[in-house]
């Protein structure tokens, strides 16, 4: 058989494979440009959605004809198909306005990653041994179905649990319905840098259980408490776009940006004024500033509104937070507190942000509420240049979803035996890697009798699975997304597959639907859609009746247009802020508690979301590994940031291996002398230190999460990941610190003389 024929055959095979994976032929016309329409060397652009982080930016995928080695029906063939070549932002998308961050750019290497799981796997060796054997999808689906109960056994709790990353789309709806049908508890959502505290605070202050949208483009003064809003926090691209306008986009007007933090972040590095405050005292500082504003009658207390009401002594002018007192606790001098207060008041619209380490403290919620109150006081809530809450699109299914338990609780239940789990389904969450040792997640999962994973990669968690049903990459499957923040419009993004699946994988939602069909009973009844695509079509169809970006005569036209545009966005922008559900107790800002005695463990330990790897999920992308971190310029490394003076005192040299020990564990990483970090603080990026995450990430660097205390935020129970104290000792050998940049001063000699 000559190559041409082989190509033909395998191409046909592939086409059919693509069809039965993705629904009815007639819809292909819109979704795929059929291969015969792809002219070699001529690019086609297709809309998509970036799922590299939660922000939900819109994509334009550059697709060109190419020849790929693909497996179809168990046969390896050279198939001429459309391949994604480049990702750009979708210019029409209200969140990212055609821009895209580094993670988004690197999304291609998720699809083309050599370590992707290419077909369903059944565990053949011992758990975690990583020995798997290939099985057919039919087997896999039958096996999974056989491990799921028809319905909730009367009386005792269900032994099924679903562990997933936080989802804000119809996949979550699908999962929820599925679990409900078989009587299982709602899905357990896990992500290390969780936003529980801020959502809760916004619910209390403004009545929105939601992350804020900051209208940076129109603001004159930004005060950010540790929010890495230009790097990894909330909706970075949207915020960067606004930031650019704030800085130089408005003729004759340039906003000021003040960042308060203990370790200079990539965002803080841009600040016009960088303020060091002791970790966890941000709330105190906020109220100190509020105190000055009230004392000098720059704003009436009333303007604080609900947000203000909740702060103890608000109406009395916050007597406990006089600058002198605050200065002692925060380490910010009185004069500066007063100046900041006056500047804030003098330059409306001014906006306050809080995020990152400020919330990951035992007093995180209080800090957040204090910042919210200050925002209220500055009359910057729901006003141009202030903070907003992105209105949800009118999609009933997505409203009022049930919250699941926390991973900590799940594991505790399993380990105690109080609520054992027989079958655990895992979807792109990696708690084994990203949880403090005290949670004993690995032990817990080892006690679970059957684990099925939908992961595209073998990672620390899915390597414990008995069955792996690999998901498509987000360029190969139907994706939808409802951005929680980053825009003032209601947005429902839709991303049809940009290319045929490269490997013998299937989209998780379609698998769930098939499983449901196999099981029959409630599940089959609850999930009557044939494919996830049908589900989306139905859901998005309901948007047609609402005023928005798309007006179409027929439902089909609407559906195809949504696909072409990459989503639907509602008309106008809502400035509404609901009335808050007042908390009963009056909140007091205070200093946080830290784990570890301040004498023995003399450093505050600040893990932070890595610009390269986020919470570690991008560590398997070579582009991200080799992209120099902006502040440290490090590549392929993990490091401990330490203040140069401190290092000098301790005789620590750049790149020297250090041992960082907390009460809960220790790790080794090379020292990085960072001029922008407080003398009594050491910081470390999260993301490296994977044991088992493909060839690029495995066995590289250290994982700071593994020495964190299980301390939690007092009110919400969220992990207070910034509340650990550590001690530093020199190992006495060089570490592996790979820097792209040399000197840190532009004029080394002048600086030396200084």
């Amino acid at each position: 058989m000559d190559r041409r024929n082989f190509l033909k055959i395998s191409a046909v095979g592939s086409a059919t494979a693509a069809l039965d994976a993705c629904g009815k032929p007639e819809r292909q016309l819109i979704r795929f440009i059929p291969e015969e329409d792809l002219i070699p060397g001529v690019a086609q652009w297709k809309p998509g959605i970036c799922t590299q982080c939660g922000a939900g930016c819109g994509l334009q995928v550059r697709v060109m004809e190419g020849e790929a080695e693909v497996t179809r029906k168990g046969q390896l063939g050279l198939m001429s198909m459309g391949l994604a070549k480049k990702l750009e932002g979708n210019a029409a998308h209200p969140v990212n306005h055609g821009k895209l961050c580094a993670w988004g750019q690197a999304g291609l290497q998720v699809t083309y990653n050599p370590d992707r799981i290419r077909f369903p796997l059944r565990r053949s060796g011992a758990r975690g041994s990583g020995e798997y054997q290939e099985i057919s999808w039919e087997e896999g689906i039958k096996e999974l179905a056989s491990h799921l109960p028809q319905s909730k056994p009367a009386g005792k709790h269900s032994a099924v649990a679903f562990l997933t990353e936080p989802l804000s789309d119809h996949r979550s709806v699908l999962i929820e319905k599925f679990l409900a049908a078989i009587g299982a508890p709602p899905a357990v959502e896990f992500e290390f840098f969780e936003q529980t505290v801020l959502r809760r605070a916004n619910e209390l202050s403004f009545g929105h259980h939601q992350l804020p949208t900051v209208d940076l483009a129109n603001t004159n003064y930004v005060l950010s408490f540790g929010a890495d809003f230009l790097g990894t926090w909330n909706s970075p691209v949207a915020q960067s776009v606004g930031y650019g306008t704030m800085r130089q986009g408005r003729p004759g007007m340039r906003g000021k940006f003040v960042q308060v933090e203990a370790r200079m972040s990539q965002t803080g590095a841009n600040a016009d004024e960088w303020v060091y405050a002791r970790p966890g005292t941000e709330g105190l500082l906020a109220l100190g500033i509020a105190h000055v504003i009230l004392k000098e009658n720059l704003r009436p207390a009333a303007s604080g509104g609900d947000a203000g009401e909740q702060i103890d002594g608000w109406s009395k002018g916050l007597p406990d937070y006089a600058p002198e007192a605050v200065a002692k606790l925060t380490g910010v001098e009185v004069a500066r507190i007063e100046r900041l207060a006056r500047e804030l008041a003098a330059h409306p619209p001014a906006v306050v942000m809080i995020g990152g380490a400020s919330l990951a403290q035992t007093n995180g919620l209080a800090n957040a509420l204090a910042a919210n109150a200050l925002n209220g006081l500055l009359e910057s809530v729901g006003k141009p240049g202030g903070i907003f809450f992105t209105p949800p699109p009118p999609l009933p299914d997505l409203a009022n979803r049930k919250e699941g338990a926390s991973v900590a609780a799940l594991c505790e239940g399993v380990l105690k035996g109080s609520s054992p789990v027989e079958t655990l389904l895992v979807y792109s969450a990696n708690p084994v890697f990203a949880s403090p040792p005290a949670w004993r997640v690995r032990e817990a999962l080892e006690k679970v009798s059957y684990i099925a994973s939908f992961g595209s990669f073998v990672d620390e968690t899915s390597s414990l699975a008995d069955l792996i049903l690999p998901d498509h990459s987000y360029l190969e499957s139907w994706v939808d997304n409802i951005p929680e923040s980053g825009t003032m419009q209601a947005v429902a993004s839709l991303g049809p597959p940009a290319m045929h699946p490269l490997h013998h994988t299937r989209a998780m939602p379609d698998v769930l639907l098939e499983v449901a069909q196999q099981m029959g009973g409630n599940a089959a009844k609850a999930l009557q859609w044939k494919t996830y695509q049908d589900m989306l079509q139905a859901a998005f169809g309901s948007l047609r009746s609402h005023p928005g970006s798309i007006t179409a005569k027929s439902a089909d036209d609407f559906w195809s247009e949504v696909q072409e545009k990459g989503g639907w966005w509602g008309a106008g922008s809502s400035l509404s802020v609901r009335t808050a559900t007042k908390s009963t107790v009056a909140v007091k800002a205070s200093v946080p508690r830290f784990d570890g005695d301040a004498q023995e463990y003399s450093f505050n330990f600040l893990p932070y979301a890595s610009q390269q790897f986020g919470d570690g999920r991008h560590a398997n992308l070579p582009w991200m590994q080799e992209m120099p971190d902006a502040i440290s310029t490090a590549m392929w490394s993990a490091w401990v940031e330490i203040n140069p003076q401190t290092a000098e005192r301790m005789g620590i040299r750049q790149g020297e291996l250090l041992e960082v020990a907390s009460q809960h564990g220790k790790l080794q990483a090379p020292a990085l002398l960072a001029p922008g970090i407080a003398p009594d603080v050491v910081a470390m990026p999260v993301g490296q230190g994977h044991e088992n995450y493909g060839r690029y990430a495995s066995g590289r660097g250290a994982n700071p999460i593994k020495i964190l205390a299980p301390a939690t935020e007092a009110e919400t129970g969220a992990l207070a990941w910034a509340s650990t104290r550590v001690k530093i000792t020199r190992v006495g050998q060089p570490g592996k610190l790979i820097l792209f940049g040399g000197g840190v001063r532009e004029w080394p000699l002048e600086d030396r003389r200084r």
């Binding site: 961050c101 750019q105 290497q109 992209m627 590549m635």
Partner: protein
């Protein structure tokens, strides 16, 4: 009048997010060399974000400066090349002809901006990462220099398209990968010969300067100095 492609880089907008770096890798088939090679100082980044500290803790701030080929009009890298691998094309681009290069690395020494990179080994891509290759950009082999091209493949594509449609190129009709991705809009690209283009207007800004001006390389990249906040109230 022909085009003279230039860029304006606003240091006051740049946030150090490195989106440009990743975008450049994706667009130009730039290899990742791996940790060992990177530790030997052989990483390839046609565009980089230089980070310089000013002052000391706690009164410290940072200046980010994205640096890519400055496309000098009087480029020191060009006359030193014995084989014309590096020369000035008719649109003012400082072009590098890969298959003429014999790897003397003289141009890299002559370049004051350190934006030229050498392939010390034959680059490797683990399959199927190679499926991502941009077919418009040639791969580089061992022993030759490579550098930023202002995404010449995009320039040519746009010019051909405009020609086919019998119309002049519109300002901002296309952009190099770094410019297109830059979230804060710190990078602006355009035709310096077109007086109305955004890039030529911005390049006349009072904050405008060129990099290492004293060397007389006459770059086509203009940097807008980082601005400072002045308090209108007290001013």
């Amino acid at each position: 009048m022909g085009h003279r492609w230039g860029m304006v880089i606003d240091e006051d907008r740049c946030t150090g997010c490195e989106a440009c770096v990743a975008a450049c890798h994706a667009e130009n088939n730039i290899a990742t060399v791996g940790d060992d090679e990177a530790s030997r100082g052989r990483a390839l980044h046609w565009i980089r974000v230089e980070r310089y500290y000013e002052g000391d803790f706690p009164d410290i701030r940072v200046k980010y400066r994205p640096v890519l080929c400055q496309q000098c009009s009087d480029a020191p890298c060009e006359p030193v090349c014995p084989t014309y691998a590096s020369y000035q094309n008719d649109e003012g681009l400082n072009a590098q002809v890969y298959n003429r290069c014999i790897g003397t690395r003289y141009c890299a020494n002559a370049c004051p901006y350190m934006v030229r990179f050498f392939n010390f080994y034959n680059p490797v891509w683990d399959k199927p990462l190679d499926l991502q290759f941009n077919p418009d950009v040639s791969l580089r082999s061992v022993g030759i220099m490579e550098k930023c091209t202002f995404c010449i493949q995009r320039i040519k594509a746009a010019e051909i398209k405009a020609k086919a449609e019998k119309r002049p190129l519109k300002d901002g009709e296309f952009n190099p990968a770094c410019v297109q991705s830059c979230p804060a809009g710190a990078l602006i690209f355009g035709d310096l010969n077109d007086p109305d283009s955004r890039v030529s207007r911005l390049s006349k800004s009072s904050r405008g300067t060129t990099f290492l001006e004293e060397l007389g390389t006459h770059p086509k990249v203009v940097y807008l100095k980082r601005d400072t906040w002045h308090d209108e109230q007290n001013a």
